[in-house]
C-alpha cells in the first residue's frame, strides 16, 4: 500500500511562519491582545531576559509592556526562517518611549529596537519562545534581576 509521504517541513513550515507573523503583525502591531488565546498554547513558556512568562496571560504581559511603553509602537517583521517545528523571527520595533517599561524609566526618546526570537510551534500554536530584544539606549539598565 502506498500512502503519499507527508512533507512536514514545507506545509507545516509555512503554517508555523504564519503563526509567528500574526503574532508580530496582529498582536504586537495591531494590539490585538485578544488573539493570544488563539495563537498561544496554554502551556506556553516565553524565556525572556529577566525570566520566564507562562501561558497566553504571560505573553500578554510581555507584549503589553511594550504597548504601554510605546503608545505609537510600530512593528516590522524583518525575516522569518523555519526549521522543523521552529521558527526564527527577526523584527524591528519603533516608537516613542513615553511609558514605563520594567527596568527603564520613560525617556521621551524616539527609539528603534531590534529583536530576535526562536519559537517552537506545536499543533499550530506557540509552545515556547526564546526572545532577545536589544536594551533601550542610554538607560540605567535593569533595576534588578
Amino acid at each position: 500500500m502506498t500512502i503519499p509521504q507527508r512533507i512536514p517541513d514545507l506545509a507545516d513550515g509555512a503554517a508555523n511562519k504564519e503563526v509567528a507573523r500574526r503574532l508580530m503583525e496582529e498582536v504586537w502591531g495591531e494590539r490585538r491582545l485578544d488573539l493570544l488565546a488563539e495563537l498561544v498554547a496554554g502551556e506556553y513558556v516565553e524565556h525572556a531576559q529577566i525570566g520566564d512568562y507562562y501561558g497566553p496571560a504571560g505573553a500578554r504581559i510581555g507584549v503589553g509592556d511594550y504597548h504601554l511603553a510605546f503608545p505609537d509602537l510600530t512593528v516590522q517583521v524583518d525575516e522569518l526562517l523555519t526549521e522543523g517545528d521552529k521558527v526564527v523571527r527577526r523584527f524591528t520595533l519603533c516608537g516613542t518611549h513615553t511609558g514605563s517599561l520594567p527596568g527603564w524609566v520613560p525617556s521621551g526618546l524616539r527609539v528603534e529596537l531590534h529583536g530576535i526570537a526562536i519559537d517552537r510551534i506545536a499543533d499550530g500554536k506557540l509552545a515556547e519562545s526564546w526572545i532577545l530584544i536589544e536594551p533601550l539606549p542610554s538607560n540605567p539598565g535593569p533595576a534588578a534581576g
Binding site: D34, D52, Y53, G58, I61, G145
Partner: protein
C-alpha cells in the same frame, strides 16, 4: 407566640426556615470555619497572643497592624485555639460591612442571634444575653467604627466573664485594652543563608504555598529560592503583598517576578509620604498587581469595589455592562465570569461558596479601598453607585412577591441576607442623592426580609428615613413603605407608632391599584387592635381583610391569612365568644395541616389548648399543648416556646402542681429575657392568673427556689421537663413521702437536683463519677416513686425530705 401581640404574623417563615436565633444547648455560639490553607509562620505570635488572652487581668486584646498584615486570619486562628477554654465558646462578628458606628450594637446582636423587641433594644439584649456568659467575643475590622469603642467598654463592664478579641489597624484606646501589634512575617536571613534555611522562613513558605496553589508544578528549589527570598524582603514580609505577588507565579517565574516587582516598587513607593512605609509598600504591591491586569480586567476590578460584603456573578455582570462601549472592540467577548476568575487567580478577589452553593466574590478591605480610589479618580464612582443601587433595587423588588411562603422563600431570604451590606450601601446612596422613589421602593420590598431575619430596628430606621424623604404625591410605592413600617412596629409591640402609620397606609392602599395592600393594612391594624384589647374593632378589621382575600380568590399569602384567622379567633375569645373562637381555630388548624405549615398549626393548637384550659379539660389541654410545643421546638421558635412554657405552667397549676409550674415560669422568664420577647395579649391575662395562683399556693421561699432553679435551666432541659410534665400526670402525694428514708449522699444529690443541676454537675460537685451520680439519681427516683427530675424536685420541696 407573639401572635396576639402581632410579633409573628407569618407562619411558614418559621416552619421553612431556621430562625437566626435558633441557638441553644451547650454551645450557643460558633466561629466561622477557617480557610482551607493553613496559617503559616505564626506559631510564636499565636503563643504570645493566647498567653495574653489567658491572663485574667486582660479583658480586651486588640490585634493591631497595617492592612494586609493578616489580622483577621490570625484572630480567627487564635479564636479557634482558645474557643475550648471559654465555657460558652467564641463568637465572631465581622464589622467590615458596617460603616455607621451606631449600627455596631445591632451588628453584634445579629451575629449573636439576638432579636430585638420594643422594650429591649440591641444593647440591652446583648447585656442580658451575655451578662452570665463566659465567652470570647471576636470583633473583626473595628478601625472604621472607632467611635463605638466606648460601647465595647460598656459591654465588657456589664458582662464580667466576656473577653473581647478585636482586630483593628489602630488601638481603641480603652483602659481595659491590651494591644498586640502583629508583626510582619519573619524574613529570610541574608544572602549567605543556605537554600534550606531560606525555604524554612515563614515569608518564603507562604510564597511557596500560594505559588503552588496557582501553578501545580511550582516548587521551591535551590535555583529559585534566592529570588523568592528577595521578593519577600522587597515586600517587607507583609502577607497580603506576598500573596498578591505569589499569585502571579501562574504567569511569571520568580526571576521575572522579582525584576518586575523591584521596578514597580521603586516607581510606586514614592507615593504619599504621610502613609507609613509599610502601608505604602502594600499599596505599591496592590498597584503592581493591578498594573498586570488587562484593561478590561482593571475596568471590572474598579467597579467591583462598590460592592459591600461581596457579590454574585449576576451583580458583577450588572455593573460590568454599565455604559460599556468598549466591549464590542474585542473579537472574542470575554465573559464576566472569566474576568472574575482571573481576578481570583491574582488574589485581588476571594471566592467562596454562598449559602446555596453559588459562587460569591469579595475583596479584602485594603484592596477594595484601592479600587474605590481608582473609580473616584476616573470620575466613574457616582455612575457605578447608581447602577449598583439600581441593580439591588431590582433584586429586592423581584424577590418581594416570592418571600411569602413560596418554595423560593428560604433561598431568597438567604440571598438577601448575603447582600445586606449591598442593600445598606444602596439605601445610603439613594438617601444621599435624594432618590426618594428608590428608597421607598427598596425599603417597601425589604421589610419582610428585615422582619424574618430579625433586623427590625434597622429596618424601621431605613423605612422612617425613606418616608421622611418623600414629599411628593403619595401612591402605592409610599403605601407599601408605610405598611412595612407599621408591620415592623407591630412586631416590636410598638402599636402607638404602628396604628397611625397603618391607617395612613390603609387610606392610600384603598386608592392604589395593588390588590394586596388593603389586606395587609387591614390585617395589621386588626392585629394591633387585638393587642389593644379592642376586640370589636379587631373583629371587623380582620373580617374585612379575610373577605378581601376571599374576593381575590384566596391569592394572598396563605400563611399570613392563617395568622389573621388565628387573631380573628382571639378577637372572638376577647369578645367572650370562646365557642366561636374554637371553631375558627379548628378550621385554621385543618387548613394549616393541609398546607404543611407546622408553625401556623402550632399557633392554632396552643390557642385550642388554652381554650381547653378555660373549659377545665386538662387532659385535652395537655395533649394539644404537647403537639404545639413539639412543633415549635422543631422549628426552634424560641419566643413561642417561652409562651408554651407559660401555658404548660397554667396546666400544671390547674392540676395543683405548683412547684413544677413555678419552675417553668422561671424558665419562660429566662427565655423571654434572652430573646427579648414578652407574652402576647390576651394570653397575658391567663399567665398573670397562673403566676398569682403559684404565688399564693407556695411559700415565698419554696416558690423562689423553684423559680430560680427553673431560671437556670437550659432551654433544652426546660423543654424536656415540660414534655415530662405533660406526659406524667401524677406526682406522689406528700404524706407518703414522709415514709421515704434517704441516705445523706442521696440528700446531697436531691439538693443539687432541686438546684437544677445535671448529672454531670452533680458528679462534679460531689467528686463522684457521672455514672455513680446517675445511679444515685435513679435510686432516688425509685424511692420517691417518680420518673422525672421535675417530679423528684416537686416531691422534695413539698415534703420535709431535705432538713435545712
Amino acid at each position: 407566640m407573639p401572635t396576639a401581640a402581632g410579633p409573628e404574623p407569618i407562619g411558614t417563615v418559621r416552619s421553612s426556615i431556621t430562625p437566626i436565633h435558633a441557638r441553644f444547648g451547650a454551645r450557643e455560639y460558633a466561629l466561622p470555619s477557617e480557610p482551607s490553607t493553613p496559617l503559616i509562620g505564626r506559631e510564636g505570635e499565636l503563643q504570645a497572643a493566647s498567653d495574653l488572652l489567658r491572663d485574667d487581668t486582660i479583658r480586651l486584646l486588640t490585634i493591631t497592624g497595617p492592612g494586609g498584615i493578616g489580622k483577621t486570619r490570625f484572630a480567627l486562628r487564635l479564636a479557634h485555639e482558645m474557643e475550648a477554654e471559654f465555657e460558652d465558646g467564641a463568637a465572631f462578628v465581622s464589622l467590615a460591612p458596617i460603616s455607621d458606628h451606631e449600627l455596631v450594637a445591632i451588628a453584634i446582636a445579629q451575629a449573636l442571634g439576638l432579636r430585638e423587641s420594643k422594650e429591649l433594644g440591641a444593647p440591652e439584649r446583648i447585656r442580658l444575653a451575655l451578662r452570665s456568659k463566659q465567652l470570647l467575643l471576636v470583633l473583626d475590622n473595628f478601625e472604621q467604627i472607632r467611635p463605638a469603642a466606648p460601647y465595647l467598654g460598656e459591654i465588657l463592664s456589664w458582662c464580667p466573664r466576656v473577653k473581647a478579641l478585636v482586630t483593628s489597624r489602630v488601638p481603641l484606646h480603652l483602659t481595659v485594652e491590651q494591644e498586640y501589634a502583629l508583626p510582619p512575617l519573619a524574613l529570610p536571613p541574608g544572602n549567605e543563608a543556605s537554600w534550606t534555611e531560606l525555604a524554612n522562613t515563614p515569608a518564603v513558605m507562604l510564597f511557596a504555598q500560594r505559588a503552588h496553589a496557582v501553578k501545580a508544578d511550582f516548587a521551591l528549589e535551590q535555583a529559585n529560592a534566592t529570588n523568592v527570598a528577595e521578593i519577600c524582603r522587597r515586600l517587607d514580609g507583609l502577607p497580603l503583598s506576598i500573596e498578591l505577588a505569589a499569585a502571579r507565579s501562574k504567569v511569571l517565574s520568580p526571576s521575572a517576578l522579582l525584576a518586575r516587582l523591584s521596578h514597580g516598587l521603586d516607581v510606586l513607593v514614592g507615593g504619599p509620604q504621610d502613609h507609613p512605609t509599610r502601608q505604602r509598600s502594600l499599596r505599591a504591591a496592590i498597584n503592581w498587581s493591578y498594573d498586570l491586569l488587562a484593561e478590561e480586567e482593571q475596568r471590572l476590578f474598579d467597579r467591583l469595589a462598590v460592592f459591600v460584603g461581596g457579590f454574585t456573578v449576576d451583580a458583577a455582570e450588572a455593573i460590568a455592562s454599565q455604559g460599556d462601549d468598549t466591549a464590542s472592540r474585542s473579537s472574542r467577548p470575554i465573559s464576566v465570569f472569566e474576568l472574575l476568575s482571573t481576578l481570583v487567580d491574582s488574589s485581588l478577589l476571594r471566592i467562596e461558596e454562598g449559602s446555596h452553593g453559588e459562587p460569591r466574590f469579595s475583596m479584602l478591605e485594603t484592596v477594595r479601598e484601592f479600587g474605590l480610589e481608582r473609580l473616584l479618580a476616573k470620575g466613574d464612582l457616582e455612575q457605578i453607585r447608581d447602577s449598583h443601587t439600581a441593580f439591588f433595587l431590582e433584586v429586592a423588588v423581584r424577590a418581594e412577591p416570592e418571600l411569602y411562603g413560596s418554595e423560593q422563600q428560604a433561598f431568597l431570604l438567604d440571598l438577601l441576607e448575603a447582600d445586606h451590606g449591598n442593600f445598606r450601601a444602596a439605601l445610603a446612596w439613594a438617601e444621599q442623592t435624594g432618590d426618594a422613589d428608590t428608597a421607598l421602593r427598596m425599603t417597601g420590598a425589604l421589610f419582610f426580609f428585615w422582619y424574618v431575619r430579625g433586623h427590625m430596628t434597622e429596618g424601621r430606621r431605613w423605612l422612617a428615613r425613606a418616608l421622611a424623604m418623600d414629599e411628593g404625591p403619595p401612591g402605592e410605592v409610599r403605601a407599601f413603605a408605610l405598611i412595612g413600617s407599621g408591620f415592623l412596629a407591630n412586631w416590636q409591640g410598638d402599636f402607638e407608632t404602628a396604628v397611625p402609620v397603618l391607617e395612613q397606609a390603609l387610606d392610600l392602599a384603598r386608592r392604589a391599584s395593588r390588590w394586596d395592600q388593603p389586606i395587609y393594612a387591614l390585617g395589621l391594624l386588626g392585629i394591633a387592635a387585638v393587642d389593644a384589647g379592642n376586640y370589636t374593632r379587631a373583629a371587623s378589621l380582620l373580617e374585612e381583610a379575610l373577605s378581601l382575600n376571599d374576593a381575590s380568590g384566596g391569592k394572598f399569602n396563605s400563611a399570613l391569612i392563617g395568622q389573621l384567622r388565628t387573631h380573628r379567633g382571639v378577637a372572638a375569645w376577647g369578645q367572650g365568644n370562646l365557642d366561636h373562637a374554637v371553631k375558627i381555630w379548628t378550621e385554621a388548624l385543618a387548613d394549616q395541616r393541609a398546607r404543611h405549615d407546622p408553625w401556623g398549626a402550632a399557633n392554632s393548637l396552643r390557642y385550642l389548648a388554652m381554650a381547653a384550659c378555660e373549659h377545665g379539660d386538662l387532659d385535652q389541654a395537655a395533649q394539644l399543648q404537647r403537639e404545639s410545643l413539639r412543633l415549635y421546638w422543631d422549628s426552634k421558635a424560641m419566643d413561642d416556646i417561652a409562651d408554651g412554657f407559660s401555658i404548660i405552667a397554667t396546666i400544671a397549676c390547674m392540676r395543683g402542681e405548683f412547684i413544677p409550674a413555678a419552675r417553668l415560669l422561671g424558665a419562660a422568664e429566662t427565655l423571654r429575657e434572652e430573646i427579648g420577647s414578652r407574652p402576647a395579649f390576651p394570653e397575658r391575662t391567663m399567665f398573670d392568673r397562673t403566676q398569682s395562683a403559684v404565688q399564693s399556693a407556695l411559700s415565698e421561699k419554696v416558690r423562689a427556689t423553684a423559680w430560680s432553679a427553673g431560671r437556670s435551666l437550659t432551654t433544652a432541659a426546660a423543654v424536656e421537663e415540660a414534655f415530662g410534665l405533660l406526659a406524667n400526670r401524677a406526682t406522689m402525694p406528700a404524706e407518703s413521702l414522709s415514709q421515704v428514708d434517704l441516705s445523706p449522699r442521696e440528700q446531697d444529690v436531691l439538693r443539687l437536683l432541686v438546684l437544677g443541676r445535671t448529672d454531670r454537675e452533680i458528679a462534679d460537685a460531689l467528686f463522684i463519677s457521672a455514672r455513680t451520680a446517675q445511679g444515685h439519681v435513679a435510686r432516688l427516683f425509685d424511692k420517691l416513686g417518680v420518673s422525672t427530675r421535675t417530679a423528684a424536685v416537686a416531691a422534695a420541696l413539698q415534703s420535709d425530705l431535705l432538713p435545712s
